[in-house]
Every structure is written in structure tokens, then in C-alpha cells.
């Protein structure tokens, strides 16, 4: 017992800090994103901030999330049923304590949400007057006793008490152990169920109020048709893919028919999505899609180059020779250099003055000096102009200013990636390579069939870090962005930051940040699915 106490005491500071500045903010940001919030808290706006960013897509996404939650409850219940059937302990009566625990958790959440605005308001009340401990305690007490928060507190306290009693009784009369798993499964099932239903209800409510607002204005938001079209598009895609896959595993006429059906589902689903998605997107925030486009360009223009350069360098450096350590140290230098300083240097190297080094290089090669970081035009458009044909708008490509930022980014991260690749190379056993060489494999074959596959976990890790990094990229872009090219270099993070720091729209910026978070999560999921299946662990 004392041992437990020591342990909790030891992790307390870290847990409190990480909770306050790492976990609680996620919920808080969600709360802020649903309000009109410009420096001070304003009215509750529900999903309107999101609707402004991605238009009706938010309703579609939330319904999808609710359906996903309900589906996972179903899967969880199936697991529980299977476990009971196999006689591995677990009784159905645990469903009640599970419900109680889940209810307690939800009651706690509800209470914090009710209390939060009152507690936040203390800061404003106390601002400017002399602070005393008594005053603060009194204000805190007042906040606590506001009718809503008070009712919420009693509900939570009652349920918590009941939970403790039930837990104590249960621990007394039943053997813990295997039942514990059953209990936690039930608790999670109830929680997710409540979450899914709550989400579905909330989204429905929001859709209805959006319709009402539109009705008063005399317009038609057309949310339901869009939800149905996009939803069925996704379902058809998934179903089509599943049918295609399962048909491939059987060999008969049925397989042929199944494949046909699957292909049909895929086609129709894809067509529905292609028809509807751009329309929805176009009515959202233009800046958001621009920011997303810039971010995608940025990651496409950095990650592959960064990884292939560093792989080549790592393979060359891996042969120990005179001076290899020196090269390694120097390649790593850009990575440790303070971002503001190195970005300032790049800003001058790629300056638009004709005396700037890069423009001098162009002049020496008999080419025209460029605007570099002040050039908002797409590089393909510019390339087209010099070669003498017109490039359509959609193929303009990243702006030249963004290309300079990409070059900076590659320059910075190649050293880091090289070091990690070197570590990965160090883990490959030399015996394998030697055996292959004895069998007469050339250098390229050894690389292609042994080194590269064995390095795939490293590549996977690095690409994940790099993709997430592009969405986090901030400092160097902040330093290098110039007035002339401002819309064409702002990646997602920069956009969120300007919305918050310059335009002071806290609520909207939070909503954007959540869109960013959702994108990162789904990228990680996709990366995991696609690349993860190809990763080969020795």
C-alpha cells in the first residue's frame, strides 16, 4: 500500500503537468471551437465554426463517426458474447456495473463542461482588482454553486458514490481477474454507445437548426441529400472493395460475378464521391483548401527527396573510411541550427535582389534572375511560359516561394534522416549481405533485394515522422514568408496560427486546428494500412 502511495506521489507532478497542458487542452479546444470566441468567450455556436471551414462536410463526417462508434459497440458486444459462449468467465450481470461506471464518467464530463465557463469567468472578474486568497475562494465557491453546475455536481457525486459501493461489493463477493476484462469491455461499450448516440443526436439537432436558419433566409442548404450521397458513396466504395477481395479468393463463376459486382460498386461509389465532394468543398473556407493544397504540395515536394537523398548518403557513409565521421557531423549540422537563424540565411540566399547568390548563379549560367521567395506563381506555369505554352490553372503546381521553403526543409532534414538510416543499416546483419555476394549478387542486387527491404521499418518510421512534420511545419515558414507570396506558402499550421494570432478568432482557429488533427489522424491510419502491410521486419 505504501509502495503504491510512493509511486502515485512520484508520478503526480508529471501527470498533472501533462494533463493540464497536453490532454485537457484537447477537450478545451473542442469547447472553444464550438463558441464564438474572440479573446473572450461568446455565444455557443455549435458546429457553425466547422461548417464555415468545411461546410456541410462536417455533418457528413460526424454522422460517419457516430455510425463508426455504434459499429464498434456491436463488435465489442460480439467479442463479449463469444467469450461467454466459450465459458471464459464473464457474466452478463456485469452489464449493470459497466453502465454505472460509464455513467459516472459521463456525469463527470458533463459537470466539467457546466463548470468551465464559470471558472473561466473568475479570471475576468478578478482582473485588475487586488487579489486575495479569500476573494478567490469566494469566487470559486460562487462558480461552484451556480445552479447548473451544482446540479451537475450532485449527479456526478451520487453516481460516483454508487460506483464505489458497487465496486467494493463486487470486489468482496466475486473473484476479480478475468471478470475485470469483461467489466472494462462493458464499460467501454456503454461509453462508446453513449458517445455514438450523443453524437448522432447532436449532429441531427445541428442539421435541423441549420435548415431552420436557411428557411428564414429562404435558401436551401441541401445537407440531407449531400449526407446521403456522400455516405452511400463511401459505403459503396468499401462494400465494392470487400466483394472484389473476397471474390479473388474463390475460383469459380461466382468469383467472376463477384468481381464484376465489386467493380460496379467501386465505380458507382467513386463516381458519387467525385460528383459531390468538390461541390461541398468549394462552399467551405477557400483559405482552408488552399492551405491544405499547400501542405500537400509541401509534403510531396519534401518527403520523397529527403528520404532518397538521405538513403544514398547513409549507404555511402556506412562504408567506414577516412573522414566518414566528419561528413556525418557536418551533414547533421543544419538540423541542429536554430530555425530562425538558418531560415534568415535562406531568405537572403534566395532573395529577389539580383546580387543575391542564387540569382548570381542564374546570371552566370546565362539565365534570368528570379523573384524566388517573392514569387507567388506556380512553378509549372512559369516553366510553361519559358518553354512557350500555357499551363492550365489546376496544373500550376506549388509557387516558387513554396519551392524555396521545400528546399530549405530538405536541407534541414536530410542529416537527421541520414543518421536514422545509418542506425537502420547498422542493424542489418553482414552475414546476409556476404552470403548474397558469394552467390554472385552485384552491388545493385544486394541493395535492391536485401538492404532496401530490410530497411523498410526505418523508411516507414521516417516517412511517418516526415509527413506529420509537414503538418507541424511552422517556424521556417513564418520567417521566410513574404508579403507578395503570402497565400501560396501558408501551410495548415501557419494558417491556424495567423487565424489565432493575427485575426484573433479563437473559436474558428480551434475548429481549423481540429480539422488539422483529424487529417493527421487519418493520414497516420492510412499510412499504417498501406505502408504497414509492406513493412518487412527481418
Amino acid at each position: 500500500m505504501r509502495e503504491y502511495f510512493t509511486a502515485y506521489l512520484m508520478i503526480a507532478p508529471a501527470t498533472i503537468l501533462i494533463f493540464t497542458f497536453g490532454i485537457f487542452p484537447v477537450g478545451f479546444a473542442l469547447y472553444v471551437s464550438m463558441h464564438k470566441w474572440r479573446i473572450k468567450q461568446g455565444d455557443f455556436k455549435g458546429l457553425l465554426n466547422y461548417a464555415r471551414a468545411i461546410d456541410n462536410l462536417i455533418y457528413v463526417l460526424l454522422f460517419a463517426l457516430a455510425i463508426g462508434a455504434l459499429a464498434s459497440v456491436y463488435l465489442l458486444l460480439r467479442r463479449i458474447v463469444k467469450r461467454v459462449q466459450e465459458g471464459e468467465g464473464g457474466a452478463w450481470q456485469l452489464v449493470f456495473p459497466g453502465a454505472l461506471f460509464a455513467g459516472t464518467a459521463i456525469a463527470f464530463l458533463r459537470w466539467t463542461v457546466l463548470l468551465l465557463p464559470e471558472v473561466l469567468d473568475i479570471g475576468n472578474k478578478i482582473w485588475g482588482i487586488e487579489k486575495t486568497r479569500e476573494l478567490f475562494n469566494q469566487l470559486l465557491g460562487d462558480a461552484f454553486r451556480t445552479p447548473q453546475a451544482y446540479a451537475g455536481w450532485w449527479l456526478f457525486a451520487g453516481m460516483a458514490l454508487a460506483s464505489i459501493v458497487v465496486a467494493a461489493l463486487w470486489g468482496r463477493f466475486f473473484r476479480a481477474g478475468q471478470n475485470l476484462e469483461q467489466l472494462s469491455d462493458f464499460t467501454i461499450a456503454w461509453l462508446v454507445l453513449a458517445l455514438g448516440l450523443g453524437l448522432a443526436w447532436f449532429t441531427y439537432h445541428e442539421v435541423v437548426s441549420a435548415y431552420q436558419a436557411a428557411f428564414e433566409e429562404g435558401s436551401d442548404p441541401g445537407i440531407w441529400p449531400q449526407i446521403i450521397t456522400i455516405g452511400s458513396g463511401v459505403i459503396l466504395l468499401v462494400a465494392g472493395w470487400k466483394v472484389w477481395q473476397s471474390a479473388a479468393r474463390q475460383d469459380s463463376n461466382w468469383a467472376f460475378a463477384g468481381r464484376l459486382l465489386g467493380a460496379l460498386g467501386l465505380l458507382v461509389g467513386a463516381w458519387l464521391l467525385i460528383g459531390e465532394l468538390p461541390i461541398v468543398m468549394a462552399s467551405g473556407d477557400k483559405d482552408l483548401w488552399k492551405g491544405l493544397k499547400v501542405t500537400i504540395f509541401y509534403s510531396l515536394g519534401t518527403v520523397p527527396f529527403q528520404l532518397s537523398f538521405s538513403l544514398a548518403l547513409a549507404i555511402l557513409l556506412f562504408q567506414k573510411f577516412w573522414g566518414s565521421d566528419f561528413f556525418r557531423i557536418m551533414f547533421f549540422l543544419p538540423y541542429v541550427t536554430p530555425t530562425v537563424a538558418s531560415a534568415a540565411v535562406f531568405r537572403q540566399l534566395f532573395s529577389n535582389r539580383y546580387q543575391a547568390p542564387l540569382n548570381q548563379l542564374l546570371l552566370a549560367l546565362n539565365l534570368e534572375p528570379q523573384q524566388w521567395i517573392r514569387e507567388p506563381q506556380g512553378i509549372f506555369t512559369m516553366l510553361g511560359e519559358t518553354l512557350g505554352f500555357a499551363v492550365p490553372d489546376w496544373a500550376a503546381g506549388p509557387s516558387m516561394a513554396l519551392v524555396v521553403i521545400m528546399i530549405y526543409s530538405i536541407w534541414t532534414y536530410v542529416g537527421y534522416d541520414t543518421v536514422i538510416y545509418l542506425a537502420g543499416l547498422g542493424n542489418i546483419s553482414t552475414e546476409l549481405i556476404e552470403a548474397a555476394e558469394i552467390d554472385g549478387a552485384g552491388k545493385w542486387e544486394v541493395f535492391r533485394h536485401i538492404i532496401f527491404p530490410l530497411l523498410s521499418p526505418t523508411t516507414y518510421f521516417l516517412s511517418l515522422i516526415a509527413i506529420i512534420g509537414t503538418f507541424k511545419a511552422f517556424g521556417h515558414i513564418w520567417v521566410m514568408r513574404q508579403q507578395e507570396a503570402i497565400g501560396t506558402v501558408d501551410t495548415f499550421s501557419v494558417m491556424v496560427f495567423t487565424e489565432f494570432f493575427e485575426k484573433l478568432r479563437y473559436g474558428y482557429a480551434s475548429a481549423l486546428a481540429f480539422v488539422l488533427f483529424a487529417i493527421i489522424l487519418s493520414l497516420m491510419y492510412i499510412n499504417n494500412k498501406v505502408q504497414g502491410s509492406k513493412v518487412f521486419y527481418g
Binding site: 502515485y8 472553444v32 479570471g123 475576468n124 542529416g415 543518421v419 517556424g475 496560427f497 488533427f517
Partner: protein, 291 residues
């Protein structure tokens, strides 16, 4: 005849090896050229007179050391330097204390909910900073208003949020978990409790990871830009990155001063890097962290 052929083959082999080596060195030198040219240009420009810096020359005709003094004065670097050192020191002290304690408990004591709490902590690493920055700003403002000392424009806002570092806890926990149990049993026989064992036995063994945390955390506070921009609006506590950022804008066309300023901020990091580069790259290779 055979001998001639063999010696020809041997010669061909040697030529091939030389070619390979030449290719390797050539590629690496080219990489080196790209990696360090910006640094060289920065240093050379920082020694030029204003006219030269705006021209096309690479080599300064005479060395203007006074650029550094002017940049130092104009940007008030002494203030920003001191701020950054103070911020780094406070952050480090707090972070080391907090993470050593937590990492020890996670690694060596079994308590209910341990894996759950640790798992939740680890999962926070993938939350993008931009999601956290707005609510944290609100929280910090709020605490500053109700608490005894203001947080905005003061050290707490710049340091306390960074004291609970998941990365440090994770790194130390991995290391502490490798300390053999026999050591602990022996210490317990001698009547030492957890804290004593941690202080006397584990800490001296953990010099390498502690060093890594010190270096990372220092570089982190040295580079921080977005958060300090938010929570400071005067120069009282602004760190060096913000100082350089504003100086770059103010210096405008005075490239020589700008580059001198940039180089000044790089120097401390360079010194730390060259002294610890071995542990540095090794620890990155091992943990692969710090995106």
C-alpha cells in the same frame, strides 16, 4: 601470358575500386558543399562592410569585426541571451525533476493503472501543437490572473508548460527499466528506499540519457518561436529566437548585421553540438524522436 592477364585483371580491379572511392568522395563532397555553403556565406557576409554585403562578392576585402558588436547592441542580444539562458535553466530543472521521478515510478514500481496512465501519456505525443496552443494560451492567461504572479510576459508561461515532457519520461523510463533488479535488492538490504536508490544508484548510471535530455531541452528552448511570440509582448522575458526574428525585420537591408546576428545565435548551439555530437546522434538514432 596467364600472368599478364592476371596482373591486368588485378589492375582493372584496383582501378574499379579507385573509381568507386572517387565516386563516393565526390558525392559526399557535393553533399557537404550544399550542407555548409549557407553557413559559409553567412559567416563571410557577417564580416563585410554594408556595401560589400549588398554586392556580389563572397570574400570580404577586410574583416569588419565591429559588425558583431553593432548587431549585439542593436538587437539587445545581451538581454535576449540572458532570457533564453534563464528560460532554459528553469525549464530544465523542472523537467528533469519531474521526469526522473515519474520515469522511475513507471519503470520500477508496480501500481494499479500504471500501463494505462503511461499509455495515455504516450498517446499525447501525436497531438499537433497547433491544437494545444490556443487552449493553453487561455489556460495560462487564466492562471496568471487568479494566481499570485502574472504568467504572461513572465517566466512561468515560458517554462512551466514544458516541464511535463512525455519524451523525457519515455526516454528515461526505457533506460531505468534496464537497471538490473539485483542492484535494487542489494540497496534494499542496506535499508535504502526508492528515493535513495534512485539518487545514489540509478542517477549516476543514467548520465547518458540525462545528458540527451539536457541538450534537447536546451535546443528546444533556444529555438522556440511560436509560443514565446504568443505569451510575451515586451522584451522582459522574450527569448533569443523572438529577438532574432524581430531584428531580422528591423535590420532590413543591412545584411552584414543580420548575418552577424544570426551567427551569434547559432554559436552556443554549435558549441554544445560539437561537444556532445556523439551522444547526440546516437541517442537520436536510438530513440528516433523529436520530429
Amino acid at each position: 601470358m596467364d600472368n599478364v592477364q592476371i596482373s591486368q585483371l588485378a589492375l582493372w580491379g584496383r582501378v574499379q575500386r579507385w573509381l568507386q572511392k572517387g565516386f563516393t568522395y565526390f558525392t559526399l563532397l557535393f553533399g557537404l558543399f550544399i550542407a555548409i555553403t549557407p553557413f559559409i556565406w553567412m559567416i563571410l557576409t557577417s564580416f563585410m562592410s554594408l556595401g560589400e554585403a549588398q554586392g556580389i562578392r563572397w570574400i570580404p576585402s577586410s574583416l569588419h569585426f565591429e559588425n558583431y558588436a553593432i548587431a549585439w547592441q542593436r538587437a539587445e542580444f545581451s538581454n535576449f541571451f540572458l532570457n533564453s539562458v534563464k528560460i532554459a535553466a528553469i525549464t530544465l530543472t523542472g523537467q528533469l525533476t519531474v521526469s526522473v521521478l515519474a520515469a522511475y515510478a513507471f519503470a520500477r514500481i508496480k501500481f494499479p493503472g500504471r500501463d494505462l496512465i503511461f499509455g495515455i501519456m504516450l498517446s499525447t505525443m501525436m497531438i499537433p501543437a497547433m491544437v494545444l496552443i490556443i487552449p493553453n494560451f487561455l489556460t495560462v492567461t487564466w492562471i496568471g490572473r487568479i494566481g499570485p504572479i502574472p504568467w504572461i510576459n513572465n517566466w512561468p508561461a515560458l517554462t512551466i508548460p514544458f516541464m511535463g515532457s512525455v519524451f523525457s519520461v519515455f526516454l528515461l523510463r526505457q533506460f531505468f527499466a534496464q537497471v538490473p533488479d539485483e542492484l535494487f535488492d542489494a540497496a534494499r538490504m542496506d535499508g535504502a528506499g526508492h528515493l535513495r536508490f534512485l539518487w545514489k544508484v540509478v542517477m549516476p548510471l543514467a548520465k547518458a540519457p540525462l545528458m540527451v535530455i539536457v541538450v534537447f531541452s536546451f535546443i528546444g528552448s533556444w529555438n522556440a518561436l511560436a509560443w514565446p511570440l504568443l505569451v510575451t509582448n515586451n522584451d522582459d522575458w522574450r527569448p533569443i529566437a523572438v529577438g532574432l526574428y524581430t531584428f531580422i525585420d528591423e535590420a532590413g537591408q543591412e545584411l552584414n548585421l543580420m548575418m552577424a546576428g544570426a551567427f551569434i545565435t547559432i554559436i552556443p548551439i554549435l558549441i554544445i553540438y560539437f561537444f556532445t555530437q556523439k551522444q547526440f546522434t546516437e541517442s537520436i538514432a536510438r530513440s528516433g524522436l523529436k520530429g
